[in-house]
């Protein structure tokens, strides 16, 4: 049992806010958290949270709607085996049981999702679960639908969950992830939507004391995909690792917002998002916030975003934000880049007979592979590289597609 420590949180002097910078209002104080749609104004480009988003393309997600119920959900193990005893799958009414227990919606789209949906799919994980759990979310049409998923890992649980999205859809999605003390969990979300699909999602994440959570998002397709992730810690020594991969085609808008909150002492967070953008009008947005509250001494945080622009005409917005309200920390780093191919790398590969097109693919594959390898769970790494290889092999001759996919 750790002894409770008393800490004094300084208060601000409104006449002299700079006397005590740590007490100045942070983004967390300014931004409402509520299940009530009306707590949030209608999104507009001049609001900071929506400044990069083509809101006119997703305005159907801003008013409560009747979901089509057409989205098909299947839950199984990734190797096809039946759910083991440590995986408990239930459906509850939204607002009952575990649903709605992880924080509250942080923007209007999240509140609309909550108020439009009726049920939640709840996956409870306990003990040591050897194979990853696979949740398949299949869009069956362009009628607006809502889906709410809760992933709750018990104390000391060891488990991996993969959530795959495919098909055609306009989907409002809410995900709650809560992990128990000293659990080790990974959650991987893959979006491979058909052309024209839209996906507006929010993830609310709570990492337990001494727990480690690896949270991965891989977005490879969709007309507009916008996922906002809000997280906090439930106790000391939490470890959060957020990885993201995105591949943006012409005309697509792919947006990830990682909002990490250090509210407990001695926690660690790493956010690494990497994207490739291809063609005119391809638009990616990554906004990474790291808020280190006065209550979080010993914080170790780092966020990084890299963008590889494959062809001219693509736009990558990359915005790391740090709000540090505690000087007694190990580190709070950030890095961000938008770049083109390295000509020397391409020439090296070309001089070995690899055509420019293939060389670019190899470099892009390598760019992502470096990140996928970090995940360290073979079943998931293979699965992700499979998905990426399929994306890269699009439009290839059969022979070369086979070589690329075999890799």
């Amino acid at each position: 049992m750790t002894e409770a420590k008393e800490i004094t949180i300084p208060t601000a002097d409104p006449n002299d806010p700079y006397a005590n910078p740590a007490a100045m209002p942070s983004s967390a104080d300014r931004n409402p958290r509520s299940f009530d749609v009306d707590a949030f104004p209608m999104p507009a480009r001049k609001q900071d949270d929506w400044r990069y988003t083509p809101i006119e393309r997703i305005d159907e997600f801003f008013t409560v709607f009747t979901p089509s119920g057409e989205t098909r959900i299947e839950v199984g193990m990734i190797d096809g085996s039946p759910l083991p005893s440590g995986v408990k799958l239930t459906q509850t009414k939204l607002g009952e049981g575990l649903s709605g227990t992880v924080s509250k919606p942080s923007d209007r789209a999240a509140a609309v999702e909550w108020n439009s949906g009726a049920t939640a799919t709840v996956i409870e994980l306990s003990g040591e679960i050897k194979q990853p759990v696979l949740v398949k979310v299949h869009g069956a049409g362009m009628d607006l639908d809502a889906f709410h998923l809760v992933i709750a890992a018990a104390d000391n649980a060891h488990a991996d969950v993969v959530v795959e999205h495919d098909g055609d859809a306009r989907l409002a999605e809410g995900v709650e992830i809560t992990t128990g003390r000293h659990s080790q969990v990974s959650t991987t979300f893959v979006q491979e939507w058909g052309a024209g699909s839209k996906h507006v999602g929010n993830h609310r994440i709570h990492v337990g004391e001494g727990a480690s959570l690896r949270h991965c998002v891989v977005t490879l397709g969709g007309d507009v995909v916008r996922i906002r992730m809000d997280q906090d810690f439930g106790g000391e020594q939490g470890d959060l690792n957020m990885l993201g991969i995105y591949f943006v085609d012409p005309g697509e808008h792919i947006e990830h917002r990682t909002m990490v909150v250090h509210n407990q002492p001695d926690c660690k967070s790493r956010v690494v998002y990497k994207g490739a953008l291809d063609g005119k009008g391809a638009h990616s947005t990554w906004v990474g916030n790291a808020l280190i509250e006065p209550t979080a001494p010993g914080t170790d945080s780092y966020e990084l975003n890299r963008n590889l622009v494959l062809t001219p005409g693509a736009i990558a917005d990359s915005e790391p934000n740090l709000e540090i309200e505690n000087g007694n920390i190990i580190g709070a780093g950030h890095a961000s880049s938008v770049g083109r191919f390295n000509d020397e790398e391409l020439f090296y590969l070309e001089s070995r007979g690899v055509s420019e097109t293939e060389a670019r693919k190899l470099v892009v594959r390598g760019f992502f592979n470096e990140l996928v390898e970090e995940i360290g769970i073979p079943a998931i790494c293979e699965h992700l590289m499979d998905v990426i290889d399929k994306r890269l092999a699009r439009g290839e001759s059969d022979a070369m597609a086979q070589v690329l996919e075999e890799q």
């Binding site: 000509d343 001089s351 190899l362």
Partner: protein, 259 residues
């Protein structure tokens, strides 16, 4: 039997100070199974010649032609030149993060041969070639050239030379940065590959050291952007003795970083 003919080749680079001509009328014919050593002072354009032949975009050709069995490779992209049978072992092999050596080699082999190698024979060929070059098998799983020492990078270049079986190999200062043992292993690799595939070699070097292991048939002196003297193996000994000074133009800066 193949022939590589370089005819009156001119090329320049663009620098901050403007256009800088480097190759000034290069003429050379290399046949299969011949080994040519190209020696010369720093900044003479030896490496530029190597990269221009391979098609590096930095070097702009102003005139001349380079015929590989009658086909002008200057009109080809770098990968087409490789497929036509040209191989450049680089002085500074480039790191390609996240791309494993195995995947890279298999992709290159597929492109050069026009079909994927059979999985079983390929795996054996690769592991045997690595063993002969005394390369740790774990290199195959690492990213291309990433974290390799200078010697390991050169071995990896020779490994590719063995596997890709070109008609002509340009070795750009393959001996630089190698200790005695590594130099011997790398040289033996080149000799073995040549023995097996009878390709022609253009070996760019500053030093006669490597010529003890890879015996040249013909030695050239390259200075100020073209060949100034050609002789037999004895020319290398003479250069070792007397240096390059006599081949430098009046007032030339032999330490130019352009090579």
């Amino acid at each position: 039997m193949s022939t590589l003919e370089i005819k009156d080749l001119y090329a320049h680079v663009e620098t901050k100070e403007g256009i800088k001509p480097i190759l000034k009328g290069v003429n050379l014919t290399v046949n299969s199974d011949e080994t040519h050593a190209i020696m010369g002072p720093n900044g003479s354009g030896k490496s530029t010649l190597a990269y221009t032949l391979a098609g590096h975009p930095k070097y702009v050709v102003d005139g001349g032609e380079v015929l590989l069995d009658g086909q002008d490779i200057l009109k080809m992209t770098p990968d087409e030149r490789a497929k036509a049978g040209l191989f450049l072992a680089m002085q500074y092999p480039v790191e390609v993060p996240g791309v494993s050596m195995t995947n890279f080699l298999r992709t290159a082999k597929t492109e050069i041969d026009g079909k994927a190698p059979s999985i079983r024979t390929w795996a054996r060929e690769l592991s045997e070639a690595m063993k002969r070059l005394k390369m740790d098998p774990k290199f195959a799983t690492r990213s291309v050239n990433e974290g390799f020492s200078g010697g390991e990078k050169k071995r990896a270049e020779v490994l590719q030379l063995e596997l890709l079986k070109p008609k002509f190999a340009i070795l750009d200062e393959t001996d630089s940065g190698l200790d005695v043992d590594a130099l011997r292993i790398v040289s033996e690799g080149v000799n073995r590959a040549k023995e097996a595939n009878k390709f022609g070699i253009l070996m760019v070097t500053h030093y006669t050291r490597i010529l003890k292991y890879i015996k040249p048939d013909i030695v050239h002196v390259f200075a100020d952007g073209h060949f100034v003297k050609t002789g037999g193996p004895e020319l290398a000994d003479e250069l070792e003795e007397n240096g390059y000074d006599q081949y430098l133009p009046e007032g030339a800066d032999s330490e130019s970083a352009l090579a």
